[in-house]
Amino acid sequence: EAGVAQSPRYKIIEKRQSVAFWCNPISGHATLYWYQQILGQGPKLLIQFQNNGVVDDSQLPKDRFSAERLKGVDSTLKIQPAKLEDSAVYLCASSFFPFSPLHFGNGTRLTVT
């Protein structure tokens, strides 16, 4: 099966600019997650979707981060405006149903200068 697709792989922006990441989960996976992984740390959940509804966004900095999954398939994560501390790898993961293992994409490495 095709894996979780993410783009772009790398992005370099200046602080206060905006950026968007795209994720296409494995076909049929209803649950989609966005994680932020700062260098030296474990992945931190930003937002979780079940189909096109938000299950958990308690750790999403909503003043600057937004995410959507309009048709219950692919998803976009946006940061506007970016800060230096947003430099991280943004991981998308999907699972077939709740309580099943996650399948991760390769991530987008964001550098904010």
């Binding site: 474990g42 992945p43 079940q50 309580f99 293992p101």
Partner: protein, 112 residues
């Protein structure tokens, strides 16, 4: 909120040495437990999982983990490591609200 602690930040072993990586979590309810591995230059992938039943679970590549409910622990073990096991290992805990949290990770370096 639940949290996941991995005791070792970086572990260095010689080939054929035994491995044990610690993982403790704080959550009082029913949990599902996972170990994920990230090989250099690759994406995170599942190593093994525990949902219920036998607390000793076996995963890929000779890894196993033991769930000790009374200690809120899910330690990863391998009797004899290989150079190809060099990677970063993440413990993850999923609570019954489907909230998956990861530990900070343990970097394993195996010297040939």
């Amino acid at each position: 909120a639940q949290s996941v602690s991995q005791h070792n930040h970086h572990v260095i072993l010689s080939e054929a040495a035994s491995l044990e990586l610690g993982c403790n979590y704080s959550y009082g309810g029913t949990v599902n437990l996972f170990w994920y591995v990230q090989y250099p230059g690759q994406h995170l992938q599942l190593l093994l999982k525990y949902f219920s039943g036998d607390p000793l679970v076996k995963g890929i590549k000779g890894f196993e983990a033991e769930f000790i409910k009374s200690k809120f622990s899910f330690n990863l073990r391998k009797p004899s490591v290989q150079w190809s096991d060099t990677a970063e290992y993440f413990c993850a805990v999923e609570s019954n609200n489907n909230d998956m949290r990861f530990g900070a990770g343990t970097r394993l370096t195996v010297k040939p």
